[in-house]
């Protein structure tokens, strides 16, 4: 979020222009073949340019689109409506709310939803209901329907929600919930009976009053339980609120207006308590306005590292793990701190996945308008390069502020596509910038042989009402073998997008994998999974916390293309052991338990349609 950084740059450009005007504009030289018509929206037809047009990808029609989504929001009966608690005073936290999470909280095999919500800020009035807004835990009831079970589940959270991550912190088989807020952080312990207990105080994770951001769970020291990383934004309080303007119009302050907080690292003591190890682990050695967080083994050395998107300042952070839970910030040397031109990224969401199918986990970062999101290609040995231009990974995104993101295979062709949630932070941006708007359609970039093609319109995204989107989560919500999406929209109801791949007769194969750790953490967070099918290899890791301050994908999903079988799946568990599973069925959800060597079709796996 960089609302105020444009003006100085533009002033500079205008000054340059005036200098040019002062010394006299260049006199036109008669062209060899002057064009007869001026350009309109697109390139003029004559004369042919000296430089041939660049390669263009065909945009498929809706009927032929390889990926198609339907708006399933209304049918889902999700009653949640987000509020940012605003009253026109434009407190900095308003546009930051919030991420979204998908996870199976009750172990019934269906993936449920968690929506953080804002809270009323000074000057704001309660809505029609008269009751303060609260977060929503929505249970997946099947058939595409969700029911709000928050209160029955013991989650009556009315804090100003910003980020969320889910994971089994006590290895009891049920995922717990950790929330970041504008205020104290919150931990809800899953009791295993469909209810949660507030464990914030007993676990020691409140962390004072801060503007929280993304969070992630990882087994940093390989001791078998999940530690906790929580990004923090800037030292904003209601008392030091600074109204800003852009071109005379009221606007939100940005990261340059306040000093950043260092992020917080909690080490799991294994007894239900966490210890703040930010300083001793090396995390607090640096500070930046953190937003999205994703953990990955960037250098393939068997331990989990932490990647943090910072909003425009300091560059992004990559905390390299020494295997014992001690970290060193190495983003600049690794090539993931700034874009290839050396410019900081107004980072929002962070995502990790193998974008180019080379077996290494790449990184993707969403960005502030008019800059492009950035794809960092993993070159091996811990080195990355900005491959945005080479892969067109920023296609169609320049005019949008992009927030949540998912790198996932939406058509099961074996290549990971990109979904980007779009929306500006200033609801009046149209008044001072005609290149963008507050509500936007979202973006879908299909991976075609390593290059990304904007198929948003053909995929149906232009047919869906526009919102100011924030977080996005991606999972198979209807258990039909393709990946669906849920999007949190600021100030409005969320959007549920149902992937129609199966309904439209998609023939590509897939497999879903759920890990069960025994020596390591129960959900296998941090484990590397390698699927071998014929000559092709598909790689992923289990992440807990990703995108824009959200969580999704604990159940891994692999598109297999036309491969009729899987030869084997190799898992490298956190802690070092590697295990191979054979006889893994396709088009099913399979459970792979550490040490068993045996793939088991999950009891809750739906047969392929």
């Amino acid at each position: 979020m960089v609302p105020s950084r444009i003006a100085p740059c533009r002033l500079h450009l205008v000054a340059l222009f005036l200098i040019a005007l002062t010394v006299g504009c260049s006199q036109p030289t008669p062209p060899a073949a002057p064009p007869k018509t001026p350009p309109s929206a697109g390139p003029a037809s004559s004369p042919p340019p000296a430089i041939a047009p660049g390669p263009s990808e065909p945009t498929p029609s809706s009927a032929a689109a390889p990926i198609r989504f339907a708006d399933a929001t209304e049918d889902s009966r999700i009653g949640f409506v987000h509020t940012d608690g605003s009253s026109g005073r434009r407190y900095l936290v308003e546009p930051l709310s919030a991420g979204v999470a998908t996870f199976d909280f009750d172990g019934d095999g269906r993936i449920d939803l968690y929506f953080p919500n804002g809270a009323l800020l000074p000057g704001a009035e309660p809505g029609d209901s008269g009751s303060p807004p609260r977060h929503a835990l929505c249970r997946n009831l099947g058939a595409g329907v969700f029911g709000d079970v928050s209160l029955a589940a013991g989650i009556d959270c009315r804090d100003y929600g910003l980020g969320v991550v889910a994971g089994d912190i006590d290895n009891d088989g049920f995922p717990d919930l950790f929330l970041t807020t504008f205020g104290a952080k919150r931990l809800f312990h899953n009791l295993g009976d469909g209810t949660f207990a507030d464990a914030t105080e007993s676990a020691g994770v409140a962390d004072g009053e801060k503007v929280g951001a993304g969070a992630a769970l990882l087994d940093a020291d390989g001791d078998g339980d999940l530690d906790l990383y929580a990004a923090n934004y800037v030292r904003f309080t209601l008392e030091n609120h600074r109204p800003r303007t852009v071109k005379g119009f009221p606007a939100y302050a940005g990261p340059r207006d306040y000093p950043p907080w260092p992020d917080t690292f909690f080490r799991n003591s294994g007894d239900g308590r966490f210890a703040d190890a930010s300083v001793e682990a090396g995390i607090a050695a640096v500070a930046g306005p953190g937003m999205g967080v994703v953990c990955l083994d960037h250098d393939d050395d068997g331990d989990t590292d932490i990647y943090v998107g910072n909003d425009a300042l300091e560059g992004n952070f990559l905390f390299e793990n020494d295997g014992r839970g001690n970290f060193r910030e190495t983003a600049l040397a690794a090539g993931v701190a700034v874009n290839r031109f050396g410019a900081e990224i107004g980072s929002m969401g962070t995502e990790a996945g193998d974008a180019d199918g080379d077996g290494r986990i790449d990184l993707f970062v969403t960005d502030f308008q008019p800059d492009l999101p950035v794809l960092f290609r993993n070159l091996g040995r811990g080195q990355f390069e900005d491959a945005t231009a080479a892969t067109a990974a920023g296609s169609g995104a320049w005019q949008f502020v992009t927030w949540g993101t998912a790198m996932a295979d939406f058509d099961n062709d074996g290549r990971r596509d990109l979904f980007l949630a779009c929306g500006h932070l200033n609801d009046n941006v149209e008044a001072f910038d005609d290149t963008t708007s507050y509500r936007n359609h979202n973006l879908l970039l299909r991976n075609v042989g390593g290059r990304f093609v904007d198929i948003s319109a053909a995929a149906g995204l232009h047919d869906i009402p526009r919102h100011a989107a924030r977080g996005v989560a991606c999972d198979d919500l209807d258990d039909d073998g393709d990946l669906d999406l849920v999007i949190l929209n600021s100030r409005e109801a969320p959007t549920l997008l149902r992937n129609l791949d199966r309904e439209r007769g998609g023939t590509n194969h897939w497999c879903q994998v759920r890990l069960r750790g025994r020596q390591g953490n129960r959900d296998g967070v941090g484990a590397k999974v390698v699927v071998q099918a014929g000559e092709e290899t598909f790689v992923d890791e289990i992440h807990a916390g990703r995108g824009y301050q959200g969580h999704f994908g604990t159940r891994l999903h692999f598109g297999l293309g036309a491969h009729p079988a899987i030869d084997r799946i190799e898992i490298r568990w956190i802690g070092g052991s590697t295990e191979t599973f054979t006889d893994v069925p396709i088009d099913r959800l399979t459970e792979l338990a550490e040490g068993s060597g045996q793939a088991v079709v999950a009891a809750d796996s739906s047969p392929a349609p």
Binding site: P43, I51, L372, A389, E430, T435
Partner: protein, 321 residues
């Protein structure tokens, strides 16, 4: 006679672009993009030249607010465009004022209108190319910039802009062709060398990338992007210590940039706008002088001086930090 008619027509086009923001929009009740988004559009009559041949220099006090200053700037743009349609600088001024108000669409429309009358205008293609590049339409930008380059290869940093657009369009070899003449040319700009460095990186020629980035730094020692590129090239060449030194310098310069950016944030935008408006009046005065309209030039420069004085006074009073 025909020329006069065309001039009037162009004036009308520029004028309409500044008021309705879309001279090429179809007639009928189709609304402009701004109207669709609810952006207020100032009534046409508010900015119409009051009397042919006489500049309506406001005698009132210089506006205090950004909005008032912007409104006066828009009036100036409409006036100068209507009075001096044959001067490319008129279009440049009108487009610049529109762009400052966040109205890229009108700025581009103004240049298109200019190109309709002056298809040989290198400046016109150049500006359209820069707008397209700013909006991420790099392939289109490359085409416009190439046309501009063919018409006038001396436009400010035209090779650098064109090379960058080609590079961003993943047309690496073509970018190299555009940027290579920089080698050995003492006049070669730092920006061009910077982009050439990136072309070399993409081509896997790390040694030449290093030389290009170093050349950019020699010309502009505080060029942070060039330091980062140099570090990348050195790292790829296996010169870890040198790469780390370049990264250290990059960090140091970035920290200084951040301090400057933070200071800029606390500046009063109306003060900045006042300075801009004073500059625009000066530019308008020069345009009038080119057309030998000395009375008008005098009026424009006089108003510019008043605005400049107001800007200086507000700075002295501590409005702008």
């Amino acid at each position: 006679m025909a020329a006069t008619g065309a001039a009037v027509a162009l004036a009308a086009i520029v004028f309409a672009a500044l008021s309705a923001r879309s001279s090429i929009a179809p007639s009928g009740d189709r609304r402009t993009g701004a109207q669709e988004r609810g952006k207020p559009v100032t009534p046409l009559a508010a900015r119409a030249p009051s009397e042919a041949g006489r500049f309506p220099a406001p005698s009132a006090a210089v506006p205090e607010s950004y909005a008032g200053l912007a409104e006066e700037a828009q009036t100036l743009a409409a006036w100068i465009g209507a009075r001096h349609p044959d001067q490319p600088q008129s279009t440049a001024l009108a487009a610049t004022i529109a762009a400052e108000r966040g109205d890229q669409e009108t700025a581009a429309t103004a240049w298109r209108a200019h190109l309709e009358r002056h298809p040989e205008s290198a400046e016109g293609w150049y500006r359209l190319g820069l707008y397209a590049a700013k909006e991420g339409r790099d392939a289109e930008a490359a085409e416009w910039l190439e046309r501009a380059r063919r018409l006038d290869p001396t436009l400010p940093d035209i090779q650098g802009h064109l090379g960058r657009c080609l590079l961003k369009s993943d047309r690496v070899a073509e970018a190299a062709v555009v940027l290579e003449p920089v080698i050995g040319d003492d006049r070669g700009g730092a920006v061009r060398l910077f982009h050439l460095g990136h072309v070399r990186l993409r081509q896997g020629n790390d040694g030449e990338a290093r030389a290009a980035f170093q050349g950019a730094i020699d010309r502009a020692p505080t060029y942070t992007g060039a330091w980062y590129g140099l570090a990348t090239a050195l790292s790829r060449l296996g010169l870890a210590d040198d790469a780390e030194r370049a990264r250290t310098e990059f960090r140091r310069l970035k920290a200084a940039d951040a301090e400057t950016a933070a200071r800029n944030l606390s500046r009063d935008e109306s003060v900045r706008m006042r300075r801009l408006l004073a500059g625009w009046y000066a530019a308008a005065g020069r345009i009038a002088t080119l057309d030998r309209d000395t009375e008008e030039a005098k009026a424009l420069l006089s108003r510019g001086a008043a605005v400049e004085q107001a800007a200086s006074s507000s700075t002295a009073a501590g409005e702008g930090h």
